[in-house]
């Protein structure tokens, strides 16, 4: 596995400098980095990202991106396919480390700690920054073991009673307990799609994360299962920070407090969701959310 991490100095390129012309690494192609408008920064953030750039080989997928993720907020990331939102999401718990050609530059901190520092172990990091994927991916194990897996490998419990408590609490927080409490030993893969997705959320919750990343968590679900996941997101926000990538504009509008719009690797606009969906600042945002392009 090849991974390159360049630790940013104190002199990050600022957002307001970003209209400058940047040269793609190793390429003669010139790309204009667009200025981010809106409110990318917050007071007392849970995570801070400054000057983040991501390359797949020579191709730059994300340009000089800076944004904060607040405590107890749902941040929705929207944009056309290939705009870099999922790539950026995966930077937040170093999932991009698994992609050989991927290079991440800049600085991403969780609670003040640089998550790309060589001393950081990605296993506990991914417990703190959990992830829920587009397609529900329960382990081929029982419902109980799916949720128990994380606490066991992270050594979060020493007794069966403690583990049982975590299982019950996690499944309750995921809104699944009442539906599965009498069949915890049944295979997780036997649940419906929506239930499987909530099981995956319970699995992420079980290791006491601070941030939950969701990559189009409802795109494979029917409207009823989607509604349950959205209700769950609203409840989880009271305890966690949530970053959700979605192609469903109305979902972003329903579940998030802030919305970030990506376009061709640039973070175009970040703002309060009600503001972005009623009166966006940037014409590109307006054009995308009103369906003029994308």
């Amino acid at each position: 596995m090849q991974r390159t991490v360049e630790h940013a100095s104190s002199a990050f390129p600022t957002l307001l400098d970003s209209d400058a012309v940047a040269t793609q690494s190793g390429s003669s192609k010139i790309a204009t980095i667009r200025e981010t408008v809106g409110t990318p920064f917050v007071d007392n953030p849970r995570m801070t990202c400054r000057g983040v750039e991501v390359y797949y080989g020579e191709k730059r997928a994300i340009n000089n991106l800076s944004i904060d993720i607040a405590n107890n907020e749902v941040l929705a990331m929207i944009g056309p396919s290939g705009c870099g939102k999922s790539t950026f999401l995966r930077c937040l718990n170093r999932m991009n480390d698994t992609i050989a050609s991927c290079t991440v530059k800049g600085n991403i901190q969780l609670d003040g700690t640089d998550i790309y520092h060589p001393s950081v172990d990605v296993v506990p990091l991914r417990a703190k920054v959990g992830m829920v994927f587009q397609k529900p991916n329960p382990f081929p194990k029982s419902i109980y073991d799916n949720v128990a897996y994380g606490p066991k490998i992270h050594g979060l419990t020493s007794t069966k009673i403690e583990l049982d408590e975590i299982i019950e609490t996690s499944l309750m927080k995921a809104g699944l307990w009442d539906e599965v409490k009498d069949r915890l030993q049944d295979p997780g893969t036997g649940l419906s799609g929506g239930q499987q997705q909530r099981l995956c959320i319970a699995r992420a919750i079980a290791v006491s994360p601070e941030v939950i990343l969701m990559d189009e968590p409802c795109s494979a679900l029917d409207p009823i299962a989607t509604a349950k996941i959205e209700e769950l997101i609203a409840e989880l926000r009271t305890q966690f920070s949530i970053v959700i990538v979605t192609h469903a504009m109305q979902q972003a509008a329903r579940v998030s407090q802030r919305t970030a719009y990506f376009h061709l690797g640039d973070l175009i606009e970040v703002g309060a969701t009600e503001k972005v969906f009623t009166n966006p600042l940037h014409q590109l945002t307006e054009d995308y959310i009103t369906g003029r392009f994308g």
């Binding site: 504009m249 109305q250 509008a253 972005v276 969906f277 009623t278 009166n279 966006p280 945002t285 307006e286 959310i289 009103t290 369906g291």
Partner: protein, 219 residues
């Protein structure tokens, strides 16, 4: 079976209908203000009887807006446009009702056959009200919030004229206490015109919201 058009086509059709309604209402106000001077009974009846045209179009536009909201879930500028159409549509219908009220009031005044009375000069007030309505519609057509913001200045003139009318009518009632109904009806014409001006201001406020995304109230 109802046809489904593409979203931009639906918006364009809605815009066209709203502008048609606006032109229709503007014309009715013009006719109503002419009635104040002419006291033409037939023209008054014609205005009263044709009010259904505005009512029907208003319902049609509202249905279109609800359909677009349900089927297309508009956001940003499109959402502001639909909200603006819903509100202006309502204002236009109420303005048309004011035209009918003026026609009925003029008809009532004519029935008094009041030989001694001198008619009140509403021409300056009527001209200003028509100007305000035109300006609000123009600002809507041109998506011109700058023009829209100037309308409230005209509203002061209309309010002052109504107040002046009120004081004048009080004096007339004192001088001619035998015909209070005639004088009160005359004052109510000023009141109707003033309400039309208020609704023109409301339309201008909606235009500012449509263009700038900020909710504005001209007080």
């Amino acid at each position: 079976m109802d046809h489904h058009f593409t979203f931009p086509h639906e918006l364009a059709r809605l815009n066209k209908k709203l502008l048609y309604l606006s032109a229709m209402v503007e014309e009715k106000i013009r006719l109503a203000t002419q009635l104040i001077a002419s006291h033409d009974h037939d023209a008054a009846q014609s205005l009263i009887n044709s009010d259904y045209e505005v009512d029907e179009l208003e319902v049609e536009i509202e249905e279109d807006c609800l359909k677009i909201l349900a089927l297309h879930q508009p956001v940003a500028g499109d959402l502001r446009f639909i909200v603006t159409v819903i509100k202006i549509n309502n204002e236009m219908e109420r303005i048309a009702d004011m035209a009918v009220n003026i026609a009925m009031r003029v008809d009532n005044i004519s029935k008094f056959n009041h030989a001694a009375a001198t008619s009140y000069d509403f021409a300056p007030m009527s001209a200003k009200v028509i100007c305000m309505l035109q300006k609000s519609i123009d600002s809507l057509v041109n998506r011109d919030s700058v023009t829209a913001k100037t309308i409230f200045l005209d509203d002061d003139f209309v309010d002052n004229y109504r107040n002046k009318c009120y004081e004048d009518i009080k004096i007339r009632i004192k001088k001619d206490p035998e015909h209070p109904g005639y004088h009160i009806n005359t004052y109510l014409l000023a009141r109707h015109l003033e309400r039309i001006a208020d609704r023109a201001v409301n339309i201008a406020e909606e235009v500012v919201y449509l263009v700038e995304g900020t909710i504005t109230r001209f007080n």
